[in-house]
């Protein structure tokens, strides 16, 4: 018996806690990265005495609303899962995914209206370039967030343990709510530091 035991792998009891904790740590590191960008912006605008000086396109306002709404639906999805209503959860997750895509579309709209107004990415005012950069880096996070929401969705249709499903939903929730709040921070930051 001892011999076979040594050939074996460790018991892989599924333990969600350390993995969820790892997700929180990733959130921390992500906050720090955006902290790096926004502190660049602050130091830049303080030393040059100017910000981006733009009226931000309305599309940003709509996209913010859409993103907040998507967070609400993701919250509903998590609640549905807690009540073991998988059909409901799937519906809400689908709505979250669609709202996420709408958000991405609106960000592109915002960029095109910025571009048309003459505030282009390649700019002698780095603060204007920074508007693109912040929203672009955030959009990359949205892509990652969508992947997590979709993994919860796939799990919900598939036949995986309830514990694993809850874990996927939790991971998606942590990250999606984070990038929602992150976007609100970035939007307010850009509004206040024009």
């Amino acid at each position: 018996m001892v011999h076979t035991m040594q050939q074996n792998n460790a018991p892989v009891e599924f333990n969600a806690k350390p993995r969820k904790f790892a997700m929180w740590l990733f959130v921390v590191s992500s906050i720090i990265m955006f902290g790096g960008f926004t502190s660049y912006y602050l130091v830049f605008s303080a030393s040059k005495g100017k910000g981006h000086g733009l009226v931000l396109p309305d599309a940003f306002m709509y996209s913010t609303a859409v993103l907040v709404l998507s967070s609400v639906f993701l919250f509903l999805a998590a609640r549905a899962l807690r009540n073991k209503q998988l059909k409901q959860q799937q519906l809400y997750l689908w709505i979250t995914v669609i709202l996420g895509l709408v958000f991405a579309y609106l960000q592109f709209r915002a960029w095109s209206s910025l571009y048309l107004s003459g505030a282009v990415l390649i700019n002698n005012n780095a603060a204007i370039s920074m508007v693109y950069l912040l929203s672009g880096m955030h959009l990359l996070h949205i892509v990652a967030g969508l992947a997590l929401v979709i993994s919860a969705l796939v799990g919900s249709y598939g036949k995986i343990d309830h514990a694993k499903l809850v874990y996927r939903q939790d991971i998606a929730s942590i990250f999606w709510h984070f990038i929602d709040i992150l976007w609100i921070y970035l939007y307010v930051f850009l509004l206040l530091n024009s």
Binding site: A10, P11, N15, P18, L25, F26, G36, Y40, K48
Partner: protein
């Protein structure tokens, strides 16, 4: 899991019975194998970086001499047997990059955090073994991309390891600013991703997966050091990513985050309004914590090794932990001392100077505690112990000059001279390398189940130790004389002529030190296959990793994970029969050596001890 039989079925349910070569050695998710992958990759990168350093040392010692051999080895980069100036700059840049990031961050943390965290806190593996595997392969890809820049027409990045713009931001500036710089940035992004995945795993494992009884104050100092190192990485590396993203946009898209008012030849560059100083802020916000990311694991390893081989508890365990925490916090608010001469507001310089000098306090606490641990110890001069003492020695010699450099006024004279080179090569370069080598010698039996040859190890230690001082100590005097770092040939400047002989001494010492590493490399690779078989606990150490079987098994302990009852430093405890009491031994088995404060206020246990003492050794109740 109360009976053996349930325990066995448990294993069988989940076991992967057939490990293939690919899953065992290549895409392994076992933390012990990943540790070895990091170590061997780190050693290979270290050898490459060492060869690069010997190449530029040859240039510095004999700038007017032709070495036809060099042309055969390096081709057009050493036309006529003399290293070209742009290649010289590439050599120092890549040497620095490899040593700081690939060897002393990934090679050191990657190896020992991976090996020791699950083993010393009592976990089956990391929080996410998959992420752990990914961390190694990102690191490997980063190494490959960094090295690939030696095989392109324009050569590797040559803007120094700190890649300041505009050299790094304007692709046409120097040959190394082109494709080489792009590869450097891609490699760095992969590297940061790798170390974040690793760091997140380490922190989550330490916080969530400690075995029963392993509270924070029972963790070995190695674990404390890895934990704080990982935290520091998570807090500082993302800022480098932010900086690198902006740099990539400046280079490849044409933005002006770091560029302004540039004239290139007769051509005025279109970039306007950026500031290169902002790169320095973003870079050094990572860059300074980075040097502690490099040294803290070495400190942790040395603390453990010094306590084990002095057969004494580490002196001031709590002070050691609080010093590490202090260093971690302070390291985040000192980055400005790299920028004293960038036109910084003198008041701000003063603030950074004070925070910098305060770091001397926790550093000195640690140093004195190491010395106090050695004091009157029953010292066993194992190879690991020698290297750990060497680490302390370099940390002292290099640390003292840090107090000079941290002083904003002195730094006006000393910045960018060989004084700085001497300082950081001793305090973080050599010290961390010695800490790492100490760890390799000490935990080699745990990694490979065999012992390294100690005669070769002593040869390796003494030659390396002496030569390292011969290399770096004289450089202080060059720096005090104002000789700037990164200069290609000392023959071009009248005032540097007198240093040519010193340069020859330094280069010869570097070559001898380099040859000494052959003893290590042979010993290392030979012992993996042919070394003497190691017993389970070769150094008679208390920590949990030595309770695992010598053979590698996935999951670390064949049965249940042991419970921890005491701190890891019960060496030579008065009243105990053996001079070490492993963490897994309960107090009920060591009645003759228990002290009342061992029970941490548990009155029931104190009562039992008091009754035992009354029966066996009444004098102890008077304490």
């Amino acid at each position: 899991m109360s009976t053996i039989s349930t325990h066995d079925t448990h294993h069988d349910d989940h076991g992967h019975h057939h490990e293939t070569f690919l899953t065992k050695y290549v895409f392994s998710q076992d933390h012990k194998m990943i540790a070895k992958q990091f170590l061997i990759t780190g050693i290979i990168m270290a050898v490459i970086a060492m060869i690069l350093s010997i190449l530029f040392r040859i240039q510095l010692a004999w700038p007017d001499h032709n070495f036809p051999l060099l042309e055969q080895l390096l081709g057009k980069w050493a036309e006529g047997g003399r290293i070209r100036p742009d290649f010289y700059l590439a050599l120092v840049t890549i040497h620095g990059t490899i040593m700081v990031f690939f060897v002393l961050t990934a090679g050191l943390s990657g190896t020992f955090s991976n090996l020791l965290i699950p083993l010393q806190v009592g976990a089956r593996d990391m929080a996410s073994p998959f992420l752990n595997m990914l961390s190694y392969w990102f690191f490997f890809a980063a190494c490959v991309i960094m090295m690939s820049s030696f095989f392109i027409q324009t050569g590797p990045a040559a803007a120094g390891w700190t890649v300041y713009p505009p050299l790094s931001a304007v692709p046409k500036a120097i040959p190394g600013s082109g494709l080489g710089m792009t590869l450097w940035l891609i490699s760095m992004i992969l590297f940061v991703a790798s170390s974040l995945m690793g760091g997140i795993n380490y922190v989550s494992t330490i916080l969530n997966m400690r075995t029963k009884g392993m509270d924070f104050w029972k963790m070995p100092l190695t674990i404390w050091a890895f934990f704080l190192t990982a935290v520091l990485g998570i807090l500082s590396f993302p800022v480098l990513v932010a900086g690198v993203v902006l740099l990539i946009f400046d280079r490849s898209v044409g933005t002006s985050f770091y560029l302004s008012d540039m004239v290139f030849g007769t051509q005025i560059m279109p970039n306007e309004g950026g500031s290169p100083i902002l790169w320095q802020h973003l870079f050094w916000f990572l860059g300074h914590p980075e040097v502690y990311i490099v040294i803290m694991p070495a400190m942790g390893l040395s603390s453990e090794i010094i306590a084990v081989n002095s057969r004494k508890p580490i002196f001031g365990y709590h002070a050691m932990v609080y010093s590490l925490i202090g260093i971690t916090v302070l390291s985040l608010i000192v980055w400005g001392h790299h920028m004293f001469v960038t036109g910084m507001n003198p008041f701000l310089g003063g603030v950074f100077m004070i925070t910098t000098l305060i770091i001397a306090v926790p550093s000195a606490v640690k140093t004195f505690n190491w010395l106090a641990t050695l004091w009157k110890g029953n010292i066993r001069f194992t190879p690991g112990m020698l290297f750990a003492i060497g680490m302390v020695s370099f940390f002292i010699s290099g640390g003292l000059t840090g107090i000079w450099l941290g002083n904003a006024t002195l730094d006006i004279n000393l910045h960018d001279t060989y004084f700085v080179v001497a300082h950081f090569h001793l305090v973080m370069g050599s010290a961390a390398i010695f800490g790492m080598l100490a760890g390799v010698y000490h935990w080699f039996p745990k990694m490979f189940g065999r012992l390294m040859d100690s005669k070769l190890a002593y040869l390796h230690f003494w030659v390396t130790f002496v030569c390292t001082y011969l290399v770096f100590f004289p450089l202080h005097f060059l720096g005090l004389d104002g000789v700037p770092r990164r200069y290609y040939a000392f023959t071009e400047f009248e005032f540097m002529h007198k240093w040519m002989t010193v340069n020859k001494l330094v280069t010869w010492s570097a070559i001898v030190a380099g040859l000494a590493q052959v003893a290590f490399l042979f010993n290392f690779f030979y012992s993996i296959f042919r070394g003497k078989r190691a017993p389970q606990n070769p150094w008679e150490s208390n920590t949990l990793e030595w309770t695992t079987p010598v053979e590698r098994i996935h999951g670390n302990w064949p049965g249940e994970i042991p419970t921890v009852h005491r701190w890891p430093y019960d060496y030579s405890k008065p009243g105990s029969e053996s001079d070490f009491i492993p963490q897994t031994v309960p107090f009920s088995e060591t009645m003759s050596s228990n002290l009342f404060h061992d029970f941490e206020g548990n009155t029931e246990a104190e009562q039992i001890q008091r009754e035992w003492n009354a029966k066996n050794d009444p004098s102890k109740n008077n304490e």
